[in-house]
Symmetry: C2
């Protein structure tokens, strides 16, 4: 089996190195990852600058490429320039250092890469741990990643649907399938003044959960010690509104 | 009424200048737009570098700010640093030079900004014309933009749903509400060799429509001379799969 791995924290990140270790027993592993951090890159593309693809390592069933592009660029390059004969059987992105639950899914470079695999008809899974630390401890999550990956290879997913899997920091109680929690980020900037007296902004903020009482969301699962698994789809049409919306001219 | 405008082609783009002209009759207009092109930036964030916000113009009911950030950054800055007392009543993004129909919605900076408004509970609409030309002719689209905006202000949208409106190049026959067409981009890179003998890649490619026969999609509407209006939602959960997915440990 051919497995494509990527991430948004860069090829040297501990999360990706852990994922390589976990995925090698499944088959041939090809990593195409950014040459440095690309968090919060969503599905961003590099369309107005040249992209480079560099082979770093090619050993026993493990190839590692890096690019100067985004996570989405990594997957596009892999599919167009490396897997030219046959698509990979599986794409796994992560393990992200930090949560991609709830609305984070739309900003996440990790999930951007997963969406790109999904749109191309590949079984695609994103794994994230709710710990931003560079030296985050993935050990509790590891057996779950192996197990979820094995089960998904057996079950498959319909075209246009992928998995967004997040794990809480610390001890894990089990797995919950869940829906994407509603919420938004608030108080998002730290305003500072540069040495020349001009203002500038650092992005920061906190997640405001709109439905803290709901027990079927990814945020609830994570807050209660469970891994959240959200089946996530590329068709963003609101079919309910499609029936209701009336526009004239 | 307070209206927030942005785009992903930069504040000088003809599409945004056209949008300013069309939106001024509706109320007070605040533009917060990138200082240059940011196409294909999706919902990308600037989290690891400082962001600047510069007031270019503040005249009769029109303020124009620029940033060095992404379209999503523009909306976040506007909501956190400009509209600190009361949120704008409407966010409009565009008019984009180029299609944001079908799967383009996940790569689009124009729609990234719309999503950001939507997540923050603001009525949010993205307008795009299927013409990448810098000097694209928006005149046929203009009365439709005014009309759709007026109707949406009257109807409103539920939290978490926004509009993705695309217009064909040339004569417009009318408006169709539609669903997001399924498809993907193919043959995406032009591989070249630099003067030092090293390969590099330019992103390019074409859209491959998976359902060319379907008559209820945005791609069909556009190919047949109609404006496509897709109600687009932020909850990407696949509820059908959520019922079916069984994972054990």
């Amino acid at each position: 089996m051919e497995i494509l791995l990527t991430n948004d924290d860069g090829y040297q990140a501990k999360g990706l190195q852990t994922l390589i270790k976990l995925m090698r027993p499944f088959g041939k592993v090809t990593v195409v990852a950014p040459d440095g951090p690309r968090s919060g890159q969503s599905n961003a593309l590099t369309a107005t600058a040249p992209i480079r693809l560099r082979l770093l390592e090619d050993t026993d069933n493990l190839r590692i490429f890096t690019t100067n592009g985004t996570p989405t660029d990594c997957v596009k390059l892999a599919l167009n320039e490396i897997f030219t004969e046959k698509k990979p059987d599986l794409l796994v992105s992560g393990i992200n250092h930090g949560s991609n639950a709830a609305i984070n899914v739309i900003y996440s470079g990790t999930m951007g890469a997963v969406f790109e695999g999904c749109v191309n008809g590949i079984l695609s899974i994103g794994y994230s741990l709710c710990d931003h630390s560079l030296d985050a401890d993935f050990s509790d999550f590891e057996p779950y990643i192996t197990s979820i990956t094995r089960q998904m290879l057996a079950q498959g997913l319909p075209y246009g649907t992928c998995l967004n899997v997040n794990a809480p920091k610390g001890t894990i109680k089990g797995i919950k399938t869940a829906r994407q929690c509603e919420g938004h980020w608030a108080k998002e900037f730290d305003k500072r003044t540069d040495p020349h007296g001009k203002p500038y902004f650092w992005m920061t903020g906190y997640f405001h959960n709109h439905e803290p009482e709901a027990t079927d969301t990814d945020e609830w699962a994570l807050a209660n010690g469970y891994i959240s698994v959200v089946p996530t789809k590329m068709d963003m049409t609101d079919y309910n509104m499609l029936d209701k919306l009336k526009l004239e001219f």
